[in-house]
Structure formats: C-alpha cells, structure tokens
C-alpha cells in the first residue's frame, strides 16, 4: 500500500509516539534503531482490502486527533512527545470501540516494529535466561490432577 508523504510522516510520528526515544527508564529506542514504517507496509501487503482501509483510517484518526478530540487546529506532528503520549492514551480508552480498536492497531504496529528489532528485543528481557531446550523422553509425566474425576482430553 502506497502512502502519501503526509500519511507516512503521521504514521511514523504516531508509532514512535508510543515509545519515545530518550526515556529515563524502561525500553527506550536508540536514535535510528527502529524503522517505524517498515512493519506497516509488510502488514498492509498481507492484509485484505477492508483491513488496509482500516489501517489507513487509523493513520488519519490519530494524526488528526488534536482537531476532532481536542478542537486544536493542528496535527499530531506538531505535538511534543509528552502531548503525543497523552493523546494516544486518550484514544486507547475512548468510548467508541472503533477509535479504541484502530488506535490499538497502531499500537500493535508500534510493538511489532519495536520488538522486531533484535537489539530492542534483547533489552526487553523476553529471552533472558532462556533455558536451552532439553529432551528427556522418559521424564514426560502428567501433573497430578486436583480433581481426579475431571474430564480429560479423551472425553
């Protein structure tokens, strides 16, 4: 799906808005570490027409949220990092299901872009102390059932 230049800028600003650079604590992207737009195009190419329409609508919904949500004549591009975070938080808890879901779709793309980076993933702790897989066929045993009368998988 081809985006207009403005759409691309709104998309990248929105996705980066979920996890701004330079946060004092937590998982903060390093400058230039995340390609925020790349995941969007991969997802859009695999999606059906309805989903692509929704993805495009989500960009405009968030990008113009200062106008329709706060009645301020500006786009998300002109907001500070703190204002973007606050705006996205409001959209995620909005009373309209459609607004919440479209914003969540953007958050999903932000998470895919952020954790899709090997270096950011390493800092997330997800793979921390991941045990090496072992194979002990003889050790396979059932855990004790609390309720022995419970129906098992063969009912």
């Amino acid at each position: 799906m081809r985006l207009l230049n403005l759409e691309r800028r709104l998309l990248e600003a929105t996705l980066a808005g979920f996890a701004p650079e330079g946060a004092a604590t937590g998982l903060s992207p390093l400058p230039g570490e995340i390609d925020w737009g790349a995941t969007f195009h991969g997802m859009a190419d695999a999606s059906n027409g309805q989903a692509r329409l929704g993805m495009r609508a989500a960009i405009w919904l968030a990008g113009l949220a200062p106008v329709w949500l706060e009645r301020r004549p500006r786009t998300l591009l002109s907001l500070s990092a703190e204002e973007r975070v606050a705006l996205l938080e409001r959209l995620l808890s909005h009373r309209s299901f459609a607004v919440r879901e479209l914003t969540l779709l953007l958050k999903l793309q932000a998470a895919f872009a952020l954790l899709g980076s090997a270096t950011a993933r390493a800092r997330s702790g997800y793979d921390r102390d991941r045990p090496a897989p072992v194979e002990h066929p003889d050790s396979r045993q059932r855990l004790t059932l609390v309720d022995s009368s419970a129906r098992g998988g063969r009912s």
Binding site: M43, Q141, L143
Partner: protein
C-alpha cells in the same frame, strides 16, 4: 488470462488442513489417484520467519486480519498454507465430547458418522500416528506451571494439554512453525504421507467453483496465483473422475459452494469459540520464551468455557500490555515476567458467511448477551487464578474495567462490571458449520456420508459440516470425522471393505 488444464485424478481435494490432508492420507493409502490443491504456499520450516509480523503475513489468511462483522469486528484466525490451520495452531487434541455425539445422532441423524464404536479405533490410530501425548512437565514452561499453581490453589480441574507434539522441546514457536518439526501438523505428517503414496500437490492454486455436469461434480475451476505477488496468473481446471472433496475451511468452502450454486443452507449456521485473554505480571520470571506455546488447560465445559495457557511472541505480548510512553516502556522492559491465559467459550450465537464485494467473504456474527456473560465468568476465574499463582498485577484489557487489578480483592471489579460485546477484545480460531451435515436435505447441505444432498460426487470434508460447535479444540474431531467419511468413500468406490493404510 491464459487457461490451462492443470491435472486429472480420481479425486481432487481442495485444501490441505486437518480435513483435506486426512482425506488425502486415507484415499491415497487406499490406492486412489488424487490431486491436492492449496491456495497458500508449502512452507519449509527453515524458511519460515521467526518474527511475529513475518509469520502472520506468510502463513495466515489475510495476514491475520480477516474479521467477522457485527456490533464490533472480531478477528477470525485461519492458516493459509500447506497444513492449513494445523501449521499455526498449538496442536491441542480432544476427542469429540459424548454429549456432542449424542446431539448429532439424535437431532441431525449422524450416528453413522460419529458413533463411538466407529470412531474410537480411528481416534486411536490418529493418536498413534501423530504422536499424541500429554505435555511433559519438562516443557510446560513458566506460563504453564504458573497456571497449574493457580488451578490447584482454587481446586479447579486442570491438566497438561494433550497435543500432537510428543517430542516437543518447548521452543514456544508453534505460530512460526515448530523449528524441529516435532508438532505433527499436516504439512509434516499426512500431506507428505499422501505424497509418498502417489498423491500430487499443487500450491498457489485458488479454487473458485466446482464443475458440475448433469448433477455430478466432475472437477474444479480456479486461478493460479503468482507466488511472489499473490496476484492471479492463469486460470486452471482440474478434472475429477470419481469425486470432488472440498476442505477449504469454514469461510471458503461455503463461498465455493455458493459460486457453484449448490443447494441447501450454505453459509448459514456459522459458529465459533470466541476467546479473550488476561495478562498477569509476576515478581519472579515467568519466561514465556520457553515451553509449549500452549501446555496447560482447565476444562470447564459444563460452564461453557475452557481456560488455557497461551504464550505469545514478544511483539504480540508487548502490544497487549497497557499504557503508552514511559509507563508502557517500563512494563515492556521486563517481558520475561508476564503470563497470559485465555478463556475460549462455546457461544450459542450463529452467524452467516456470504459472498461479498468482489467475491470476498462477508461474515456476520453477533454474540448474545448470555455468551458475553458466560465468557466473563471464565475471565473472572482466570483473574483469580493469576493472583493465586502469585501475580502482582493483572491486566484484563476490558473497557469499563480498570486496566490494572492490583490484588484479589479487585477481581470483584471485573465480576461486577456490566460488560457488552464492544468492551471485549474477542478472537476466534475454531470455526464451524457453514455447510452442515444432516439426514434432512432441507436443513443440511451434506448427508451422513458428507456427500452433498443436491450434487453427486461432491463431498465436504472440513469443520463446515459440523452442525454445532464442540466446546473443545476441534482438530481431532475433524480428522476423525473425515477419516470415517473418506474410508467409507474409498470402500464404496473400490467395492471393498474400507481398510485405508
């Protein structure tokens, strides 16, 4: 677009998931020539992406964005590759529950298809061939072990799941394709077995309609897709001398039937098992990165739901964690401290699948208020189990409920909440019933042999024929029902007793 006759065989099978691959395994072993057609690709395990976005894009229909419409859209997850949904699921195995067998026998006249004396030997055989065992304690992982603790503390009937992954090593990558091919999904079990027995497989072949001549199915017509772009490249036909078997799944099988003008309640009675999940944050590491993707379950079928552990890749896990900015960033800096468990519910609602704009599917589905209340009860149990297992915080992810519950006393906020459909994030991967089977030609599309009432030599062999949902994971029931029907077909066609394999 150019047109070609792609192939010809005794049987043509459309789709290679649990239904199509099992039919192929039985008919090929019985000596029939057959052609399998698959819209997606044959994915080599070593070539499957390990990242969530790549995995969704490559192996799932519409990259995981297919939805049912209603008061709020609900994602419907289906595989689109050789192996179908078995190539992306967790391989959970349940035999068809006794009350379902009884219901189908008395209300739909399907005793000849599902009677226990007929199906028990089939279940036994499949379980032996697909290495089905309970999940070992050594690969239950932190997510499964925590759920076991929570269930045991509350006296709930928990147990390790039985799965078709007897040699599982706990890589936690069922969605991306088991790295060691230990999960016996159809792409690494029955499809290769059918090929070894002489079947032929054409991928990137999307079937659009059945060719019917003088009331008899004689082949299929469709388009070949460009493997790199997915765009139509050429039209094709495959001729079938003895029969056409549709196993394209609960959404696309009825679309093929509708385009082919097959009579009956095609597309009606769509059912599913919608589910929703809770996250818990623990002080000690859970390490979702190790262990079976799904290893532990609490079956509460008499209450209408089943609780399951469900690990996620880091990208999907992070997206489910509440917050934005610094708050979210702090939470996702310790992704090894989260557990996720889901409630899958047997909803009473029925929907419909139709041909939409441009031939695309249009699915309409609206859960009832009772469905939502039933699912909420399951979610309340999950929250209680989370705290009993030691969670410091629970994230329900439900509108009108606090986004963070900080102790067992706060579970009542979830319990007392008036929740509507639009407050929940629902998702469904078990789909049923758009070409239901039954003895009555007015109320069903296919009969007890799974042959269409209105069209000779046209068979439907997937979960479309299930007249009701099950309340348990359906893969095993699909395989057994299809095995039974395919064995009957093999015997009938060759004039000898069915002894496939």
């Amino acid at each position: 677009m150019r047109r070609e006759t792609l192939d010809e065989a005794d049987f043509v099978i459309v789709g290679t998931g649990a239904g199509g691959a099992t039919a192929a395994r039985v008919l090929a072993a019985a000596g029939h020539s057959l052609v399998m057609l698959e819209e997606g690709a044959r994915l080599r395990t070593s070539e499957r992406p390990r990242d969530a976005a790549g995995a969704l894009a490559q192996a799932m229909r519409d990259g995981g964005t297919q939805v049912a419409f209603g008061s709020a859209p609900m994602p419907l997850l289906q595989g689109r590759c050789v192996g179908g949904s078995t190539a992306i699921n967790s391989g959970i195995i349940w035999r068809m529950p006794e009350d379902v067998v009884e219901d189908w026998t008395t209300r739909f006249g399907l005793g000849a298809l599902v009677a226990p004396e007929l199906t028990e030997p089939i279940y036994d055989r499949i379980e032996q061939e697909l290495e089905i065992t309970p999940t070992g304690e050594d690969v239950l992982g932190g997510n499964g072990h925590a759920m076991a603790r929570g269930a045991q503390a509350l006296g709930l009937p928990g147990q390790p799941m039985r799965r078709n992954a007897g040699r599982c090593r706990g890589s936690g990558e069922c969605l991306q394709g088991c790295p060691g091919e230990r999960r016996q999904s159809m792409d690494v079990s029955y499809v290769p077995r059918a090929l070894a027995d002489g079947a032929r497989l054409h991928t990137h072949a999307r079937v659009e309609r059945v060719l019917i001549e003088r009331g008899r199915a004689v082949g299929v017509r469709g388009v070949r897709l460009d493997p790199s772009t997915g765009r139509p490249r050429a039209r094709f036909e495959v001729r079938a001398r003895r029969g056409v078997i549709l196993s394209a799944g609960v959404i696309h099988t009825p679309l093929i039937l509708l385009r082919s003008r097959v009579a009956g309640p095609v597309g009606r009675h769509f059912q599913c098992h919608p589910g929703s999940a809770l996250l818990g944050r623990f002080d000690e590491p859970i390490r979702m990165s190790f262990g079976a993707t799904q290893g532990y379950e609490v079956p509460m079928r008499e209450r209408g739901y089943k609780l399951e552990s469900l690990s996620l890749p880091p990208e999907m896990l992070a997206a489910r964690i509440p917050g934005t900015g610094a708050e979210w960033q702090e939470r996702i800096a310790s992704l090894d401290h989260y557990a996720q468990w889901a409630a899958q519910s047997r909803f009473e609602a029925q929907g419909r699948v139709r041909l939409g704009f441009g031939g695309a599917p249009w699915v309409r589905y609206e859960p009832s208020a009772r469905d939502i209340e039933q699912l909420k009860e399951g979610l309340v149990w999950l929250a209680r189990m989370m705290f009993e297992a030691g969670a410091r915080e629970v994230y329900p992810g439900i509108h009108h409920v606090p986004e963070v519950l900080r102790g067992p006393d706060e579970v009542r906020l979830l319990e007392q909440a008036q929740i509507s459909r639009a407050d929940l994030h629902l998702m469904a991967s078990h789909l049923f019933g758009t070409a239901r089977a039954g003895a009555d030609p007015v109320r069903s599309v296919v009969g007890p042999t799974l042959e269409a009432h209105s069209t000779r030599a046209l068979y439907v062999m997937d979960a479309s024929v299930f007249p009701t949902n099950l309340g348990v994971n359906p893969q095993h029931s699909i395989m057994a029902v299809v095995w039974r029907a395919a064995a009957q077909l093999a015997a009938q066609d060759s004039g000898r007793v069915a002894r496939a394999g």
